[in-house]
């Protein structure tokens, strides 16, 4: 059985993030590797395919004896039998430390406990563009399986040579090579004793199909879970060095404010306090966070800010400020098929509606943090980021130094959700450390995290459609202003389509957010589909399936409907059911929701949610279920009540007492249905399961109360009964 795989994976554009390969390359000699690693066996995964190489960023030809740079990952098997796997991907709660260990263990045929993952360390791991776009599972998981398979075959060859037998007469299992007759057996560790073997992975290295997986495919727990329940794990904000100082930044009064006057004399008089004023950067470092806060508070800074657009006018602003300037090259921003105008003119029913989404904040529970240490002209920074190599570039640029003098390490961090791509905190800590001549740690306050990070973009989405009397959609026009192009194409079979993304000026700093614009685009599309179903007087699920050929999407719709009990007659007043679905990043999702609306008070209760999801062969069923449930819960916040309030360059609700995120009382029973396709490549699951939640709830509210909601969040202040 062969696994279907295509290296031409759609690479999710990170619209708002600079994402360039490094300006400098760190070339490492093979011999240096064994000095560092000790003797043993080293297998590197070389990306032969240009597209795949682009995904891990490198593009230069290898020179001399140096390792080629088109490398995705490498694996070292030491004389002690310990397997160390190096990847530039990072762990922030998606549990890839576990799923990638499973991938390596699967093909190397060793116990999970033998695998040690080194992740996101720019000095030790191969270059990687970053951990985002649900790409770890489709790319890195597969690369590690190939690396491990190559290592296993090399071990079989070593034993075959030693015993003067054919490789085919040997088996590798449980960290040993044995002959088929069971007479001889040797541990991997013994085979590599005193060796310095290197091998690049053949591009066509055969992999075990998912149907034969033994370690992959199992619901294994988080590999280092015990460190987290005992408080032992050191997150970026927990890092500490001898002599370390605590940094605090003096922030401007508003975005884009300029400094008018500064008096830092009082802070400078405080013993042990370093004050830095460099351009628009003002910060202090002191022996404790209390002293740093005290010194920062003693600094008198006067700022001048210009009037800026606020939340109340944001949608008008986006529509009036369309620009194509700064558009990243090569992004899909347009999709055309057929001829929309004549199809609209000929349609029996026409519908045009506008949908909006507000700015929301990632609110990772661990705010940005960085510890920076200078050793001569070399800089080391421990920080929570999804792009350690990107942060290395930012640091090199900020301090005008070569990248190979900068090392960025990423200890497993307290979540990201697309919100930790940038290196502000790393630069702040490094700037203070350079002045103080001691290591400095900067941990953002919650208010700083809410204010000085970046947001999921707000957007306006206009949809116009035409339909025949029988419910066949014939025309589809879809315009997204600012929020993004991810997931903007319709999965439904519509002959005439015009779909476009329009870049606009943005009133707030905006960037990627778990799922990117797919959440907004699915909300608009699936709400509009529901409106069309009612216009055609068709049952909403039946209407979708009538216009849908895609088998994988049909399968999740049918699975969600079955689990939910879709089609049952309402049993109470104010009860409502809604459905929505779609596909994105190789994952297929459908969500059914039940709500209860109090028609007098407008109170809405989310009674239950069922989400069906399919992303190919499942690497870790418990990890996948955890992601589906978590994605559904995170989606509830943006669906129901999350919105960033801002005015004149200031965030008005930048505290957890003011910005509402989902809490225990907000969580309905959530059932997830996992469909598995063992014949298909495993795809990522961190993002797509969010997509159906908001439209399914909105559609359920319409079903319950007859009120059509076209703005996210749906009910920040309860439902207004019309």
């Amino acid at each position: 059985m062969s696994e279907r795989f295509d290296f031409e994976l759609p690479l999710e554009p990170e619209r708002y993030e600079l994402s360039a390969p490094p300006a400098y390359h760190f070339e490492l000699d093979r011999r240096d590797w064994f000095k560092f690693l000790g003797a043993g066996l080293l297998v590197v995964c070389v990306m032969k395919n240009a597209k795949a190489a682009q995904e891990t960023g490198a593009a230069k030809k290898p020179a001399g004896d140096a390792l080629p740079e088109e490398i995705g990952a490498w694996l070292h098997l030491g004389e002690d039998g310990v397997v160390t796997v190096y990847t530039g991907k990072v762990e922030m709660g998606q549990n890839i430390r576990t799923s990638l260990s499973q991938a390596a263990a699967e093909e190397l045929h060793v116990a999970m406990g033998k695998i040690r993952m080194v992740m996101g360390d720019t000095q030790l791991t191969p270059f990687d563009r970053g951990t985002f776009g649900s790409l770890t599972t489709p790319t890195m998981n597969r690369q590690l399986r190939k690396v491990a398979a190559a290592a296993r075959n090399l071990l079989l060859d070593l034993a075959a040579a030693q015993w003067k037998v054919e490789r085919k007469d040997l088996v590798a299992a449980d960290g040993r090579v044995s002959d088929a007759a069971g007479k001889r057996s040797v541990e991997y560790a013994a085979l590599v004793k005193g060796q310095q073997l290197t091998q690049a992975v053949p591009a066509d290295e055969a992999l075990a199909p998912a149907t034969q997986w033994k370690v992959a495919g199992q619901p294994l727990p988080k590999v280092d879970g015990r460190d987290f329940v005992t408080g032992k794990h050191k997150y970026p904000s927990d890092q500490k060095l001898p002599e370390m100082l605590y940094g605090k930044i003096v922030r401007p009064s508003a975005f884009s404010a300029t400094l008018v006057s500064l008096d830092s004399s009082e802070a400078e008089k405080m013993p042990g306090v370093t004050v830095v004023h460099d351009g628009n950067f003002i910060g202090v470092a002191a022996a404790s966070s209390v002293l740093a806060a005290r010194a920062a508070a003693a600094i008198k800074a006067e700022w001048k800010a210009e009037p800026q657009p606020g939340q109340k006018e944001v949608f008008d602003y986006l529509k009036k400020n369309v620009t194509n300037l700064g558009e990243p090259v090569g992004l899909a921003t347009h999709h055309d098929a057929g001829a929309v105008e004549p199809a609209l003119a000929a349609a029996d029913h026409r519908l045009a509606q506008t949908y909006t989404v507000e700015y929301i904040a990632h609110t990772p529970l661990e705010p940005r943090a960085a510890l920076a240490e200078w050793t001569g002209d070399h800089l080391t920074v421990w920080t929570g980021t999804q792009r350690p190599f990107g942060v290395r570039s930012e640091l090199a640029a900020a301090f005008r130094m070569p990248e190979d003098h900068v090392r960025v390490l990423m200890p497993d961090t307290g979540s990201g959700y697309g919100g930790k791509h940038t290196g502000e905190t790393a630069i702040e800590a490094a700037r203070l450390a350079r002045a103080a001549k001691k290591p400095v740690k900067v941990t953002w306050t919650r208010e700083e995290e809410f204010t000085w990070a970046y947001f999921r973009p707000a957007g306006v989405i206009e949809v116009a459609s035409g339909m025949q009397k029988d419910g066949t959609i014939t025309a589809w026009e879809f315009h997204n202003y600012n929020s993004g192009a991810s997931g903007f194409e319709t999965p439904y079979d519509i002959p005439n389509q015009r779909i476009a993304f329009h870049a606009t000026k943005a009133p707030l700093r905006q960037g990627s957010y778990r799922g990117l614009a797919a959440t907004a685009n699915h909300f608009a599309r699936e709400t509009h589909m529901d409106e069309l179903a009612h216009l055609a007087k068709m049952e909403p699920l039946e209407f979708r399936l009538k216009n849908l050929k895609n088998d994988r999407l049909r399968a999740v719709y049918e699975a969600a409907a079955k689990k939910f009990g879709w089609g049952k007659v309402k049993s109470a007043a104010g009860q409502g059911f809604g459905v929505a679905g779609g596909y994105e990043k190789g994952g297929y999702v459908a969500t059914c929701a039940e709500v209860a609306v109090d028609r007098v008070t407008g109170e809405v209760k989310i009674v239950r949610v069922v989400t069906a999801f399919e992303c190919g062969a499942i690497v870790n069923p418990d990890g996948l279920r955890n992601q589906i449930e978590g994605a559904n819960i995170m989606a509830l916040g943006g669906a129901l009540f999350e919105a960033v309030e801002f005015e004149n360059g200031r965030i008005l609700n930048g505290l957890l007492s003011l910005y509402r995120v989902p809490r225990f009382r907000d969580i309905p029973p959530i059932e997830s249905v996992m469909l598995e396709r063992k014949d298909l490549l495993s795809m990522g699951a961190g993002e797509t399961p969010l997509m159906g939640v908001a439209p399914a709830i909105g559609n359920a509210i319409f079903d319950a109360a007859g009120v059509r909601l076209r703005a996210l969040p749906l009910i920040p202040n309860g439902l207004k009964m019309s």
Binding site: M92, G93, Q94, N95, P221, K222, G225, R226, F228, V229, T230, G231, K232, H233, K234, Y235, S237, D238, K240, Y246, S288, S289, V290, L291, R294, T363, P364, L365, E366, P367, D412, T413, G414, S415, Y417, T443, T445, R446, D622, N626, Q627, E629, G630, A631, N632, I633, M634, L655, L656, S657, V661, P662, R663, F664, R665, I667, P669, I670
Partner: protein
Amino acid sequence: MAKIQLQVNGRSATVDAEPEATLLSVLREQLDLTGTKYGCGEGQCGACTVLIDGRARRSCQTLASSAVNKKITTIEGLAQGEHLHPLQEAFLAEGAMQCAYCTSGMIMSAASLLSSNANPSEAEIVRFMDGNICRCGTHPRIVAAIRRAANAPKESAR
């Protein structure tokens, strides 16, 4: 700055504390007990939860000086040697974490709940835990973990 003596995880520790120093900053910066987390600084997220005389308290809202002569327990003090607390075992068994940054606070809050209510209903768990935020969305697993710990054999409960 004043010298104060704190009783943390069964041991006595003397620290120099500024008058405005929170218990959270003293635990993390002076005693290297970094299992207790900063999440919001306003008592809204529960990541900094510790036990003071057995009750859940937000250490970011507690002055270090006010905790003198009280019995402070942090996540690092919950296990007995290698023997994990039933809640720690239950969180592992239920896989009740993703990034796990909230986990310390969740476990400490739950420990407080179970010490006053040995067998809480799901509604009681939700009500008690509502002040603790998990952004990854592992709430149902956390509720299940607390139920599991409550149902664990009593001889291993502490």
